[in-house]
């Protein structure tokens, strides 16, 4: 394997992120958090600007920004005169706008907006690659540790709470893990398309899975396939890699909708 080859580095980065994003994406799908995930990803841009402005690393800035967004959402959620989806819509778009303005303030004219919005996977360095695999391994380990209580709280919050699971802590941990994955994935597909790496492979796997664990493993395989198909597709047709990966994932999702003779829908 040639790590000097930018394409190979990009492919490995994509595969690493797909492996981490897919199981977390299952929770996003199960908990109906897709739109919330989108708003979180949009706010990641503020985190990038914050990182540059106050001199902290990009993942730290992103986690900080996403954390603030999550708190704001909880506050807005309590306002009964605004529905949850309207509140999220306001947060998602205003945080994207704020991120773009803040970036231009701290970054000047030389900011490559397109790389932040749509990703720049071909610019992945050896160091980036190391970050992705180290952080990714830590994230997966953390997810494994909380898997049982998190799953229990996801299946039935009230029952889990009555049985002693700390459901609000579980929710906070999940948001933190998603924020970290967004920080990792934004270089790959950009803030606008990050959520798709979380939810599309998971939604595709839902069709075939009979247990939560099999859905997570299947989502990983589908995510990895999407990266491989997307990357080689972008090379072959000379189109942008980030969107190609998302389109490959979408293609697999559409395929999963087709009726299969020996595989009736699980539900």
């Amino acid at each position: 394997m040639d790590l000097d080859d930018f394409f190979m580095r990009a492919l490995l980065a994509g595969i690493g992120i797909a492996i981490v994003a897919a199981p977390l994406g299952c929770f996003v799908v199960w908990r109906r958090m897709a739109y919330f995930g989108d708003a979180m990803a949009h706010s990641a841009l503020i985190g990038v600007a914050l990182g540059i402005a106050i001199g902290i690393s990009r993942p730290a800035g992103v986690v900080l920004a996403v954390g603030i967004l999550a708190v704001l959402f909880v506050v807005l959620e309590r306002k009964s005169w605004i529905s949850g989806d309207t509140g999220l819509g306001i947060l998602a778009h205003s945080s994207l706008a704020l991120g773009l303005v803040a970036l231009s303030l701290v970054g000047g004219r030389g900011v490559n907006y397109s790389a932040y919005l749509f990703g720049d996977i071909l610019a992945v360095s050896r160091e980036d690659l190391l970050h992705i695999y180290v952080f990714g391994a830590v994230l997966l380990a953390a997810l494994l540790v909380v898997w049982r209580p998190l799953l229990s709280a996801t299946v039935h919050q009230d029952l889990a709470q009555a049985e002693g699971v700390r459901v609000y802590r579980m929710r906070a941990i999940l948001i933190l893990l998603i924020a970290l994955v967004i920080a990792l994935a934004m270089q790959l597909v950009g803030v606008l398309l990050t959520t798709s790496l979380l939810i599309i492979p998971a939604a595709t796997a839902r069709r075939y899975a009979r247990t939560p664990e099999s859905m997570a493993v299947l989502a990983v395989l589908i995510g990895v396939l999407s990266v491989v198909f997307g990357m080689y597709g972008s090379l072959w047709w000379d189109v942008p890699s980030g969107p190609s990966i998302v389109l490959a994932a979408t293609g697999l999702f559409v395929f999963s909708l087709l009726p299969l003779p020996f595989f009736p829908s699980p539900d």
Binding site: R32, L151, T154, V155, H156, A162, R210, T211
Partner: protein, 246 residues
């Protein structure tokens, strides 16, 4: 209150709950004795679910105390009319998540609740009535001596309600567990309920279902029109008995 005669599993003593300026519960006293079936009824916003949450220890009361017998083991059925979980999962896995590991216990509990033939079915394929019975089976797996149910039949058709209440009453007789439940369906209060507690932030009145049906406070709370629609499901009652109240 008759503490000396009753073996109290779970009770509230002068429990009040306030959220800011609003009073959700006002000096509520309630007792559930061993093997006793207590039903809380009351209009919307009467604090029925709040009272359950206080009794379960999920919420701390602003005032008053919750009393639990030291060995009380509560099986809780939350208010959720339909399974809305998107997690792919079989019924047996869902039952095992409650903590019980033994396959034997799982089969026994599901047989008791009449869902033993649905063990391998995906959760989302269950009907409202089946889901209710699966929740009940999961509660039974904790070997409870007290079952707490929040509006157990809200999404079940009339026949389903009758059979669910029959099932509860069988469970009480077989396992001797106490049952505390909240009900908003005023049209049907279970005939085998020992005590009905009528709640409107405070306890308006309590007593046997028959006594409550004719209580002026009950009539005030639910208006004469609905009060006359109260049907006491005559389970375990001698034939003709309900005529006295018709």
């Amino acid at each position: 209150m008759n503490l000396s005669k009753k073996d109290v599993l779970l009770g509230a003593r002068g429990v009040s709950l306030r959220r800011g300026p609003s009073v959700l519960l006002d000096h509520v006293d309630i007792d559930v004795g061993a093997g006793e079936i207590v039903t809380i009824i009351g209009p919307n916003g009467a604090g029925k679910t709040s009272l359950l949450r206080v009794l379960l220890g999920l919420v701390k009361p602003t005032e008053g105390e919750v009393e639990r017998r030291a060995d009380v083991q509560i099986g809780y059925l939350p208010q959720q009319p339909r399974v809305d979980s998107l997690v792919p999962m079989s019924v047996s896995r869902f039952l095992a998540m409650g903590g019980s590991r033994s396959k034997n216990a799982l089969v026994t509990a599901s047989r008791e609740c009449g869902v033993e033939n649905r063990l391998e079915a995906p959760l989302r394929s269950l009907s409202g009535g089946e889901w209710q019975r699966v929740l009940l089976a999961r509660a039974l797996l904790t070997e409870p001596n007290l079952l707490v149910l929040d509006e157990p039949t809200s999404n079940v058709d009339f026949a389903g309600q009758i059979s669910f209440y029959e099932l509860l009453s069988e469970l009480r007789n077989r396992r001797g567990c106490g049952i505390l439940m909240v009900s908003h369906d005023l049209h049907m209060v279970m005939g085998s309920t020992d005590i009905v507690v009528c709640l409107d932030r405070h306890v308006c009145c309590s007593g046997s279902a028959e006594a409550i049906a004719h209580h002026p406070e009950y009539a005030r709370l639910f208006a004469p029109a609905t009060a006359s629609m109260l049907a006491i499901y005559p389970h375990n009652h001698p034939a003709g008995h309900e005529k006295e109240h018709a």
